[in-house]
Symmetry: C2
C-alpha cells in the first residue's frame, strides 16, 4: 500500500477517461454514517460508462471516483449509528467512490458479511447481489416453480441471479455465448444452459432477467408465458426494442425497466436489507459462492480495468486497497 498523507485515503480516479490512483480526504462519519476500511471492491459495467462520461454519478457521488460496492471493516461511527461497532465486517452498495481505501456510507446500507465468507471476495458481492435480488424478487416477483431465463448470465449480476433463483426454487435457464462457460453456470445452479439463439424456443418464460439488451429481448417476447414478468436492467447490446404489443397483451405480460443506483436512499436500504437476508440464508447452506476472476492491488487499478474489459470468463474483477 502506498504511504498516505495524514487525513487522506487512496482512491481510484478517472482523469480524462484514464484510470489513475490518488489521494482524497479521509471521509468523516456524519449522523448515521459509518466509515469502512475497504478490503476489496468490485468493478462493474457502470464504472466503465462513468469513465467514458456516459453515466454521470447520481446524488452527491463524485464523477471522478468510481466504485459501486465494497467490503471491509467498520473503523468509525457517526453519532447516530446503532447497528454496528468498530471492527464489524460489512459490505454494501454505494453511489460511487467505493474503490478507495475508506468509504463513508449510511449504516442501513451495510450488509453483514456472512460467517465464513472471505472479506477479500466479499467486495464483489453487493452490487450483483442487490441488483439481482431486487430485479428477481422485488420487481419480477420470482416464485418457486417459475421458469426463469437469465440472459448474459456469465457476468456478475448473471451469476448471482442464477444462484439466488436456484435457491428460491425457480427453474433456472442461463443463456450465454460460448460453450466454455456452460459448466461453470451449471455448477452455480443453472438447470439448463443455452445459447442466445435458443431463447425463443426454450420458453415459455414466466420470468426473464434481461441483461443483454434489445436484440436479446426481441427473441423472448414471442415466448412469454401467461402472466410473464420481464425485467430489463442491461442494454449494452442495444437499447431500441421493436416490440409487438400483442406479445404483451396475449400473455398479459409485464415489461419493466429498472436501475438501482439512482434510487432514493430509503429504497436502496430496503433493497439491501432484503438481499442481505437471502444472502445469509443461502450462504449458510453453502449454496452461494462468489466467483472471482482476478484481484488487483488498488495501485494497479488500471490493470484491473483492462482485465474487466477483456474478461471472457466467469467472475468478478476486484481491487484490493
Amino acid at each position: 500500500m502506498t504511504t498516505m498523507a495524514p487525513g487522506t485515503t487512496c482512491s481510484v480516479l478517472f482523469e480524462d477517461g484514464m484510470v489513475t490512483v490518488g489521494e482524497r480526504p479521509m471521509p468523516a462519519p456524519d449522523g448515521h454514517d459509518v466509515v469502512v476500511a475497504v478490503t476489496s471492491a468490485g468493478l462493474n459495467g457502470a464504472d466503465i460508462l462513468q469513465r467514458s462520461g456516459r453515466y454521470p454519478a447520481p446524488g452527491n457521488a463524485p464523477d471522478d471516483q468510481p466504485g459501486l460496492e465494497f467490503a471491509g471493516r467498520v473503523v468509525a461511527l457517526g453519532t447516530a449509528v446503532t447497528r454496528w461497532a468498530v471492527g464489524d465486517a460489512v459490505m454494501g452498495i454505494v453511489q460511487g467512490a467505493g474503490q478507495a481505501g475508506h468509504v463513508a456510507t449510511h449504516e442501513d446500507l451495510c450488509i453483514p458479511v456472512p460467517a465464513g465468507m472471505d472479506l477479500a471476495d466479499a467486495g464483489g458481492v453487493p452490487e450483483a447481489l442487490v441488483t439481482a435480488h431486487d430485479a428477481l424478487v422485488r420487481q419480477a416477483g420470482l416464485l418457486a416453480g417459475d421458469r426463469l431465463l437469465v440472459t448474459g448470465a456469465a457476468g456478475g449480476v448473471g451469476t448471482m441471479a442464477v444462484q439466488l433463483a436456484h435457491g428460491i426454487g425457480a427453474t433456472v435457464v442461463a443463456s450465454v455465448r460460448g460453450r466454455a462457460r456452460h459448466d461453470a453456470l451449471r455448477a452455480l445452479g443453472a438447470d439448463e444452459v443455452i445459447s442466445p439463439d435458443q431463447q425463443a424456443d426454450a420458453g415459455p418464460w414466466d420470468v426473464v432477467l434481461e441483461l443483454v439488451g434489445a436484440p436479446s429481448l426481441a427473441t423472448v417476447t414471442p415466448a412469454l408465458a401467461i402472466g410473464a414478468r420481464v425485467v430489463v436492467i442491461g442494454v449494452g447490446a442495444g437499447a431500441r426494442l421493436e416490440l409487438p404489443l400483442l406479445h404483451l397483451m396475449t400473455a398479459r405480460a409485464t415489461l419493466r425497466g429498472s436501475t438501482l443506483r439512482a434510487r432514493p436512499l430509503a429504497d436502496r436500504i430496503v433493497a439491501s436489507r432484503r438481499a442481505g437476508v437471502l444472502l445469509e440464508h443461502l450462504h449458510g447452506r453453502g449454496e452461494l459462492v462468489v466467483p472471482v476472476a482476478s484481484r488487483h492491488d488498488l495501485e494497479d487499478a488500471a490493470d484491473a480495468y483492462t482485465a474487466f474489459e477483456t474478461s471472457g470468463g466467469v467472475g468478478k474483477v476486484l481491487v484490493v486497497p
Copy 2:
C-alpha cells in the same frame, strides 16, 4: 320483437362478415349458471374484429354470435345458484352471444344493477366498467393523486376510465381527437382534456391507459414519471412499438399488456366483483353516468353496427332485444 319458435331466442348473428338476426336454442341454466332475459346489450370493438374473423371467440363462445356484455332480468336459475332470484336486475361480461334475447352466464359474473340505473342503459356498462377498472386498479394500481393519461378517451372504455379514475381521486387527463368532445369529457370528470399531440408535454405520467396503440404510446414513453405504470389494452392504431428501453429504465417504469376476454373464469369473476363494488359506490353518489350514443332494436342490429363504426361522438351503441 319478432315472434320466436318455442324453445328459441333471437340473436345477432355474423354470416360471412354480414350482420343478421336469427333464432338460436333458448339457453338452459346448468349448475351455477343463470339465464337472463336481456334488456340491452352494448357493441364493442372486439365485435367488429370478430365479425372480420380477426378475433376468434375464446372458450366455448360461438364464433357467429357477438356480444360481450348485457343487462337484464334473471329468468331461470341453475340448481347450484345461491346469489340471485328470478326477477333480479343484473349486468355482466360474457365471452360472446350477449346480443341476444337471452344469455346464460355464471352467477358470479353477474353484477347487480345499481338502484336508479335504467336497465335500457345498463347493457352498455359491464365491458367498459370491468375492462377500465381492471386496467386502472388491478393492473396499474391507480391511486389518489396519480397523474393519469387516458388516450382515446372518447370511447366506451375511455369514458368509463375517466369517471372511475376521477372517483378514485386521480388527476385525470383525457386525450381525444377533435375539440367537439372536450366538453363531454370534462363533464365526466376529466381535469384536463388534450389532443394527442400534447401527450408528450402534458406529463410526467404516473399512469397511462393506452387505448389507441403504438403511435400514441411512442409519444408518452419519454414522459413517464418515476415508477410509472403503463397499461396497453387497445392497439387499433398500430401494434408495433419502437421502444427506447432507457425510457423504462430511467423511470423504473412498467409496461403491461392486457386483455380481459380470454382470462380464466376465476379471474373474470374477481375482476367483475371488484368493478361492481366501485360502480355501486360511485353510482350511489351520482358520480357515474352511462353515455348512450344510440339504441337500436335487435332486429335492426345491422344499423347498430353501422352506427358503431361511423360514430364520432361520445357514448355506447346498444341493441335492445
